[in-house]
Amino acid sequence: MRLAGRITLSLAAASLLLTGSARAETVVKIGAALSLTGPAAAYGAQQKAGILAAVDEINKSGQLKGVKLEAVVEDDASTKEQGIAVFQRFINKDKVAAIIGPTLSNTATAADRLAQDAGVPVVAVSNTAPKGITDIGDYIWRVSLTEGQVIPGALKRLQGKLGFKKAGLLYGNDDAFTQAGYTVMKAATETMGLQVVGTQTFAKPDKDYTAQLTALLAAKPEILIVSALVENASGIVAQARQLGWQGPIFGGNGFNSPKLMANAGPAAEGVYVGTAWNKVSTDPANQAFLKAMAARKHEPDQFCAQSWTGVAVIAEAVKLSGKGGRDDVKAGFLKVKDLPTPLGHFSFLPNRDGNHEPALQVVKDGKFQIVP
């Protein structure tokens, strides 16, 4: 009888263990292909911080019952060669359920095709090129608003407030992001009937813009419209002020970074930025994001917010479809509607581009403030 009792006890213990492990979580792997070295390293670093924080917070909150998110981060060195290698690793070796990234649009136009062909959903969180991203196929989705979604509205609103008629345009012509931004800005000036008194270009490695600015200012614009990444933006703003320009400066998404104020200092006052992320939004999702980043002692910028949102959207897709496979995530994307995110209430457009309210900000007292 004692032997039977012992066997029963061990069987009972074993079955408890088994049910315990049956209740173990499924892991949904998200591959993050980021530029951690090379020219785009500054953005990759922000994206990494946002992704890791989001994964951590979502896991802690337990909102995905029984599902744990795991982020696998790899560096593509800002080159398409390694971007492709990283994507192939994620698809075939790590067998991720979804990919976030890559950082650069140029890399995306090369690597996303692999994911499309293999049936792995990709969430673009910083690609803003109008063509060649989501139109690759139905597995490619985008959270980052294109410049075309942000700038025209912001510029129009600004004109309503300031009433300018003549504009000087300045843009970086050797970068896909800033070049695309310029195309949008130019089209916006035409739609709005603005007179473009001058157009100048610079290259990413440039630090001196005085020649271009002097030429533009000589044509007497009423506003300077600039498409630049933050490294150039802070220098452009500082030098414009130094040359005596007190008028308004309008920048695209690239300006939306605390580094603008950090590097340009008082020169940044009065700079308007059309942006996809309203830092001072009181929306609870944004406040939670800011709090999480502050706890990790990291000052976020737009890239950070967009990456966090990318993870949030994937998590939501998993929740909506109930499962964590590749096609489940894709099916989930189709159902995402008005998801609260740091960027605002987010949905996908029919063409898989992102959709949420963009914002117009102005730099005042060293901080971004919303322009109503």
Binding site: T79, K80, Q88, A110, A176
Partner: protein
């Protein structure tokens, strides 16, 4: 088991492809180095080949072999009017002139609206297969091997060792140098065309100064003395980041700056201690062992 192999292949397929593409680019620098010319215009030639072939596919809608042919021949044609004046320059001046050429090509592409400037041409259908790349590499190796023991090979070596002396011996050095420049341009153009139809897109920022520096490094690290060198160098340096990617989590180090550091250290070690490149490693080790043995025998005898 089959699935594991297939996964392995798919994971590293692009790495293998790039080893081949980078080898072709390394060869393109190597052929000029073999006659003593530091011609660094290959990034520009690769850009011309890549864009020309992309335009043939996307705008003219012609079959892939035509695109490849255009991508190979157009840079070769450009190399002639470029080479005639430029090959008169010596050493570092030639290097700088050809670097300048590469930059002018890149800047031209950035400013050319027809090809979308910095955004480049996207959605190019993938027509390159691994076997095509390796066929090109094999053919190149064959050609170089045949050149080796031939009249051409001797002429090139003579020019490399001492050009004025070679000329007094009646070797038309300018002709040979130009031929090598044209061959190098063709190889670079072919590599560019193959790459364009492998990665679905081309953009100017893939053809800058750092790219041509990479090509030079592949050739030198592999060994610019023998014709296998560029392949060895390209192979090793293309694999290195992927190897480090595997190792990094095991050693607990972050990717990123580490990879850059290792690249630099490898290059420094090779150039200081293995000047004839990685290909000479077995020979150097053998020589060192022989020397040690001889010293030991001499010591014992004394």
């Amino acid at each position: 088991m089959w699935e594991q192999l297939s996964d392995f292949y798919l994971t590293y397929q692009s790495t293998f492809a790039y080893i081949g593409i980078n080898a072709l680019l390394a060869f393109s620098v190597y052929v000029s180095l073999s006659c003593g010319q530091l011609a660094l215009g290959s990034a520009g030639f690769a850009a011309i080949g890549a864009y020309a072939s992309a335009l043939v596919t996307m705008k003219a809608d012609l079959p892939f072999p035509v695109a490849l042919a255009v991508g190979t021949l157009l840079p070769a044609l450009v190399a002639v009017p470029l080479g005639l004046p430029v090959l008169r320059l010596k050493g570092i001046f030639l290097a700088i002139a050809t670097i300048g050429f590469g930059e002018v090509v890149r800047l031209g592409l950035v400013n050319w609206e027809y090809v979308n400037g910095a955004q480049g041409i996207v959605a190019i259908p993938q027509k390159t297969s691994l076997w095509m790349i390796y066929l090109a590499v094999a053919v190149t190796l064959f050609v170089l091997w045949r050149l080796r023991g031939s009249k051409w090979g001797f002429a090139l070596e003579a020019i490399r060792e001492d050009e004025p002396a070679a000329r007094t011996l009646g070797i038309p050095s300018t002709g040979y140098k130009l031929a090598m420049l044209v061959l190098g341009a063709a190889l670079a153009g072919l590599a560019g065309a193959l790459e364009a139809h492998f990665t679905f897109m081309v953009a100017p920022n893939g053809f800058g100064f750092s790219r041509v520096v990479d090509m030079l490094v592949y050739a030198v690290v592999g060994g610019a003395q023998g014709f296998w060198g560029p392949l060895a160098g390209a192979g090793f340096l293309t694999l290195l980041p992927e190897l480090l990617r595997e190792l990094a989590p095991l050693v607990g180090i972050e990717p990123g700056p580490l990879r850059m550091l290792v690249n630099g250290v490898v290059l420094l070690v090779v150039i200081l201690f293995l000047p004839a490149g990685l290909m000479s490693l077995p020979r150097t080790l053998r020589e060192r062992r022989a020397a040690r043995r001889a010293a030991g025998a001499g010591g014992a005898a004394a």
